[in-house]
């Protein structure tokens, strides 16, 4: 009998299709991927340590009395001290700053996105200037404030007004606010530009096609749409400026003042600078530690709250624009 054997098939391998991709386990890929993951975890870990350390230590020392009291001359005493003038000073200086920085920043961004010929020399120089301004060290802004606003503008104003003693030509709230305005200009420009670019060109074209002029289109159509982005820019600028100490060191901050500032030519006390003073000038660091942590917590709450608001507005704006586009 000569029967034909059934053909010999290859043995059934049920999983053959499943691991054709990674036949061999690549140790080095695993190792290095893990390493980058660890780097990420490490950064997040330190962030978490900083924040929890401050919140835990600060929370126990913070009280209504602490945030609503004007301290006496010796503010290192944990029982009687308060940070009201610092909160007020920081708030006023960033508020005055926004009055200057937002109009200038928004107008510059409008020029760059709506008018500027993209390849022209002037546009490129403006962009380079914005980039450079963003990278100038904050202490150099402080020197600039001292050399330009106080020693040049202020002294000349005193001379023009015939003031018998220096009124404008000395460190003052207004000069600190202006210095910060110059420093945060790029923040506002970049954020506004981003939001202007995100507006679909169709909206502008529709408006222009209906006979509106370019300026009317910008004012009535583009700007209202860009408002959340402009607000984000403003908030980011405020949060950046609220935490900066170096630019105000020589332009207006005071070590101690018995009263709140009344006039733009007054000096002021500041949260960030107060943190620095408490951390480095205290006669007894152990005793000052609770109020130091509490002050840091107040400062962090101020800047972080602003940052988170900016992030939320920005996320909403992106979602809305995605729906529009």
């Amino acid at each position: 009998m000569n029967t034909i054997n059934p053909p010999q098939y290859l043995p059934e391998t049920p999983q053959a299709g499943r691991h054709f991709r990674a036949e061999k386990f690549d140790f080095w890929s695993f190792f290095f991927s893990g390493l980058t993951g660890l780097a990420t975890l490490f950064i997040l870990g330190i962030l978490a340590v900083i924040l929890t350390n401050i919140v835990i230590n600060g929370w126990s020392a913070i009280s209504w009395h602490f945030v609503s009291t004007i301290p006496k001359k010796d503010f290192f005493d944990a029982r009687t001290t308060g940070v009201l003038p610092m909160i007020v000073g920081t708030t006023i200086r960033v508020f005055v700053m926004t009055i200057f920085v937002i109009p200038v920043g928004v107008i510059t961004a409008i020029y760059l996105t709506e008018y500027a010929p993209n390849t022209s020399f002037v546009t490129r120089v403006i962009r380079a200037a914005v980039n450079n301004l963003a990278g100038v060290p904050s202490i150099v802004f402080g020197l600039f404030g001292l050399g330009f606003f106080i020693n040049f503008v202020g002294k000349n104003m005193d001379a023009l007004l015939h003031n018998p003693s220096a009124v404008w030509g000395q460190p003052a709230l207004i000069w600190a606010a202006l210095t910060l305005a110059v420093m945060t200009l790029p923040v506002v420009i970049v954020a506004t530009e981003e939001s202007l670019k995100a507006i679909p060109p169709g909206l502008r074209e529709a408006s222009l096609a209906l006979g509106a002029t370019k300026l009317e289109t910008i004012w009535r159509i583009v700007l209202p749409q860009a408002l959340p982005g402009i607000m984000t820019g403003g908030i980011l600028a405020v949060s950046r400026a609220a935490g900066e100490v170096a630019p105000i060191l020589f332009t207006g901050v005071a070590y101690y003042m018995a009263s709140l500032p009344h006039h733009v030519t007054d000096q002021f006390m500041d949260l960030g600078y107060h943190v620095f003073v408490l951390a480095t000038q205290s006669p007894n660091i152990e005793q000052t530690r609770p109020i130091l942590y509490a002050t840091v917590l107040v400062l962090l709450m101020l800047t972080f709250a602003l940052n988170i608001v900016a992030i939320i507005i920005r996320a909403r704006m992106r979602k809305k624009l995605r729906a529009l586009g």
């Binding site: 991709r21 690549d26 510059t108 403006i126 990278g135 402080g142 020197l143 609220a242 900066e244 060191l249």
Partner: protein, 381 residues
């Protein structure tokens, strides 16, 4: 007429456009003014017009006739208006005052050869000098006291030391995290991790300084067991932490902007995710990562408060466990006590101008590299 916009048809519109253009020039004006006014206060140092010599050459009052009016005016440091109103007797008494002032300087300083030199000359700013009382030429920054020593080399060394430690700490971590977040992490992880790391840049530098001062300094001392608790190493680590978000976000941006096709091709050829990230994406994004490092350097060199809080003594030493004083720290700590317009004040402004120039150059390099990188990815070059 026609449909193109013309100023004749709409004068208000034309005016508004010009106004917008003029306002937008303000950023250029600001960069220019910063440079001008920081450099202006430092000019006397550059031209050698400042003089700190404690003991000036004294001309006896009897020799008043031998001097020309110009020489006399310069000697008595008078303005032309002041000089014009004075008669010979007043001038003579001024010269006597000058001589008496010299006699009042303690003999210890009067006979010191250092008291006769102008310490703001470039020779003394940059080269070591054997001050009296020292046994060998040394680099010394000591701006207070009778004889002010302004050698800026210790400050440059301190700045570089702290900045380099910061970058050595920050660049691997930030770039590693950027590779992980942009290439390896799942989308959901990426969406949480990226904004969280960027939130880090919202922490004010004084707060990082407090953390470094109170916690990091103690922990690092326990680990490494060095002598001085507050030193350049602690400052550098804290500084690195402040620049991580800057480097991370630029590097992440560069890595993400590498075209998907590169990654897909590599994966299709059988490379693992890590091999793709390391051998394909990272080399393609290398200019962006380089720019991130350069911009991080610019940020680190200009950071003030962290270094100011953690270490401050100016010592000429490359040892990372010694203290260090950076340029920014020096300006921040000493400007308050420097006499406005005096040599110390001028030198601090000169340091500021130096810092401005350094960051200007690093920003330029970073900006140009990024722009070229973007153009290349878009296939325009």
């Amino acid at each position: 007429m026609g449909i193109h916009r013309g100023h004749r048809a709409r004068p208000l519109e034309w005016l508004a456009e010009k106004f917008i253009f003029l306002v937008s020039l303000s950023t250029i004006l600001m960069v220019f003014l910063i440079f001008l006014f920081v450099a202006r206060e430092a000019l006397p140092i550059f031209f050698g017009n400042a003089d700190t010599a404690l003991v000036q050459k004294v001309i006896p009052p009897d020799e008043v006739d031998k001097l020309s009016p110009a020489q006399l005016r310069e000697y008595l440091e008078l303005t032309p208006q002041q000089f014009a109103t004075m008669d010979k007797e007043t001038l003579k008494s001024l010269m006597e005052v000058k001589q008496e002032a010299l006699d009042e300087i303690p003999a210890k300083f009067r006979n010191d050869p250092d008291a006769r030199i102008n310490t703001t000359e470039w020779k003394y700013l940059l080269l070591p000098h054997q001050w009296s009382g020292y046994d060998k030429p040394e680099y010394i920054w000591q701006p207070v006291g009778q004889i002010q020593k302004y050698n800026i080399i210790p400050l440059l060394v301190g700045t570089l030391k702290v900045t380099l430690i910061g970058l050595l700490f920050a660049v691997p971590l930030a770039v590693g995290a950027a590779i992980y977040v942009s290439q390896l992490a799942r989308p959901r992880v990426r969406e949480i991790v990226k904004p969280t790391i960027e939130l880090l840049s919202g922490i004010p530098s004084v707060v990082v300084g407090v953390f470094a001062l109170l916690i990091m300094a103690t922990v690092l001392q326990k680990i490494f067991g060095y002598q001085t608790r507050l030193n350049a190493f602690v400052a550098g680590c804290a500084l690195g932490f402040a620049v991580i978000p800057v480097i991370f976000s630029i590097a992440e941006d560069a890595l993400t902007s590498v075209p998907r096709a590169y990654t897909q091709a590599a994966l299709a050829l059988g490379a693992s995710r890590w091999q793709t990230a390391w051998q394909i994406v990272l080399p393609a994004a290398l200019p962006g990562v380089f720019a991130a490092t350069v911009l991080g350097f610019g940020r680190a060199i200009g950071e003030t408060m962290i270094v100011l809080m953690v270490c401050s003594a100016s010592v000429m030493s490359w040892n990372i466990f010694d203290s260090a004083r950076s340029i920014t720290t020096t300006i921040a700590a000493e400007m308050a006590e420097a006499v406005s317009g005096g040599p110390h004040y001028r030198i601090l402004f000169m340091l500021g101008a130096l810092l401005f120039a350094a960051t200007f150059v690093s920003n330029m390099i970073g900006g140009v590299v990024i722009q070229r990188f973007k153009l290349k990815l878009e296939g325009k070059r």
